[in-house]
């Protein structure tokens, strides 16, 4: 449950950088995503035409504060998003470094505290750091969004051990892998590890065929979720034949 909302598709799709809004809409449909993110910082209030296209998709909108570098920018953008989209959901990004786009955890926690107190339901884009995660929960967040890798890098899950620890440390908190996913196999791995959802944008938007890639990610995320729920077998050091060797017929010519 993400702030009381249950989602059957666990793929969340970003809406930037597509060849056209028409292709974006087809990609959303092909992916099966029920939540799409939308940025506001640069487009401002005058992006109504594009917002209407997104609203027409029927998906739940998760506005974000992409491009914000300070607490005040992020809070202002979140307030504008709530007013324009009529939702208290906000994907909170406070960027700490213009080149690596990594989150600024200190500003993130502060902004999360202000927004949570103001009634927002905050989806914070964070690192896999456990202490930052705890501070975000303390600030009022009920979902955490650790990165897989830097935004748009397509590197996949760069710190698998750290992400496993995070999953184990916050067993009851919905955890969404956000950013850095480049291939469906990486999204599936995140789901197989027990993460609750995957959020991505560039890997679909910049594919040669975004609609086909959206479908591939939808299937991968669904497969990973089913696999996790089905219970993956542990890996073993030795071979373990699936057919017993004793009693095999001895076929002598």
């Amino acid at each position: 449950m993400f702030y009381g909302t249950s989602l059957s598709s666990r793929l969340m799709l970003g809406t930037a950088q597509y060849p056209s809004p028409a292709i974006l809409r087809q990609a959303i449909t092909a992916s099966g995503a029920e939540v799409i993110t939308v940025s506001l910082r640069r487009e401002g209030r005058d992006g109504a035409a594009f917002r209407d296209i997104l609203a027409g998709s029927g998906c739940r909108l998760l506005p974000n504060t992409a491009g914000c570098h300070s607490v005040r920018e992020a809070v202002t953008t979140a307030e504008m998003a709530r007013e324009l989209f009529g939702t208290s959901w906000i994907k909170l990004e406070v960027i700490g470094h213009a080149d690596t786009l990594q989150p600024d955890p200190f500003a993130l926690v502060e902004a999360a505290r202000i927004l949570s107190a103001d009634g927002f339901e905050v989806f914070p884009y964070t690192t896999e750091d456990l202490i930052v995660g705890e501070k975000l929960l303390e600030a009022g967040c009920r979902v955490l969004m650790p990165w897989g890798a830097p935004i748009g890098s397509g590197q996949g899950l760069r710190n698998i051990g750290g992400l496993r620890s995070m999953r184990a440390h916050f067993p009851d908190i919905p955890l969404v892998i956000d950013a850095g996913i480049g291939a469906p196999s990486q999204a599936m791995l995140a789901m197989e590890m027990g993460f609750d959802a995957v959020l991505l944008n560039t890997a679909v938007a910049k594919a040669a065929d975004p609609v086909a890639m959206a479908a591939a990610f939808g299937q991968a995320v669904a497969a990973g979720q089913v696999a996790f729920n089905a219970g993956l077998m542990p890996s073993r050091d030795m071979a373990a034949a699936s057919t017993p060797i004793f009693g095999l017929a001895e076929l002598v010519p």
Binding site: P21, A22, E43, D46, G47, F50, G152, A208
Partner: protein, 311 residues
């Protein structure tokens, strides 16, 4: 009489194609019309590069543009397009090569000596061209006047061909604005002879030589109908991208900044539409100079046949 509304690239191409078929044409520019977005265009005739994002129909049909412009306005420079990326963005170049055709791998310094030592590899789209878009529009306009086409702000008196760009949103509800921001600089220390595109995951740019040391640097793409001048962010991004291409751009004189609203349909493909008895040529998006000629010819052909059939 055919009344073409507007004065941007779509309107001037439509009026030119109609007039060339011997049809009576007037150009109607209502008072208070916003200046056309095409005055800020790059003027690149680059169908293959546009194929990175644009569908095949733009790549295929856009190839006719260079000949059309040369014939109607002259001034087309056929020197191709050079595409480069910073060493750490090599992957962008590979991706661009896969997404496009009509190119070959080159050492950029072989084409543009000024880029020596800066880029090890680039893509060369040899068949592409560029021109000065404002000069070309002025030439079409004066040729229309020479050919007896009236330009006025009164009431249209014939079949309407609506080429008003974004102002036609009152009749085309799915038309939207995609804001674009550009700069023009005077950089006499830079000697580039053809359009150069810099690929970058966040701040791509293109640089189009305008002659006599002038360069156009463009252009942002923002899903917004915000009017008003360029943002500081756009200037920073465009100039830092240009600086990556050639450090001497840091010493350039900024002689013009411009922000305009591109009219676009949901599929970003320019189109002819017929709504309530009027023809629309609209949704030029970032393909006005590439697609307006071919669509104008198509529209003129349609209207000529209809007029013949009506008699």
């Amino acid at each position: 009489m055919i009344s073409v509304l507007g004065e941007g690239v779509a309107a001037l191409c439509a009026a030119t194609a109609l007039s060339a078929r011997g049809l009576a044409v007037e150009l109607v520019v209502p008072q208070g019309s916003p200046p056309p977005a095409s005055r800020l265009a790059g003027g690149m005739l680059a169908p293959f590069c546009e194929g990175e994002l644009a569908p095949d129909i733009v790549v295929e049909r856009g190839q006719a543009a260079a000949d059309w412009w040369q014939q109607q306005a002259g001034g087309v420079e056929r020197r191709g397009t050079l595409v480069v990326a910073a060493p750490r963005d090599r992957g962008e170049l590979e991706r661009f090569a896969r997404a496009t055709r009509g190119h070959r791998w080159v050492e950029p310094e072989g084409l543009e000596a000024e880029l020596a030592g800066r880029f090890a590899r680039g893509l060369f789209f040899e068949s592409e061209a560029h021109m000065d878009p404002c000069a070309a529009l002025a030439r079409l306009r004066s040729r229309l006047i020479e050919n007896g086409v009236a330009i006025h702000d009164g009431a249209p008196s014939g079949q309407i061909v609506d080429c008003r760009g974004l102002a036609a949103r009152d009749r085309l509800p799915d038309l939207r604005a995609v804001r674009g921001e550009m700069l023009e600089v005077l950089a006499p220390d830079v000697m580039l002879t053809r359009p150069v595109r810099l690929l970058h995951p966040r701040f791509p740019c293109y640089i189009v030589p305008r002659g006599a040391g002038r360069y156009m640097i463009g252009a942002t793409m923002v899903e917004s109908a915000r009017p008003g001048g360029v943002t500081a962010r756009a200037v920073m991004e465009l100039l830092s991208a240009a600086y990556t291409v050639h450090p001497a751009f840091a010493e350039a004189e900024v002689i013009l900044t411009g922000a305009g609203l591109r009219p676009a349909f949901p599929d970003n493909i320019p189109a002819i539409r017929r709504e309530a008895g009027r023809l629309h040529l609209n949704g030029m998006y970032r393909h006005g100079f590439l697609m307006a000629p071919v669509l104008a010819e198509e529209l003129a052909g349609m209207l000529t046949r209809e007029l013949v059939d009506a008699h």
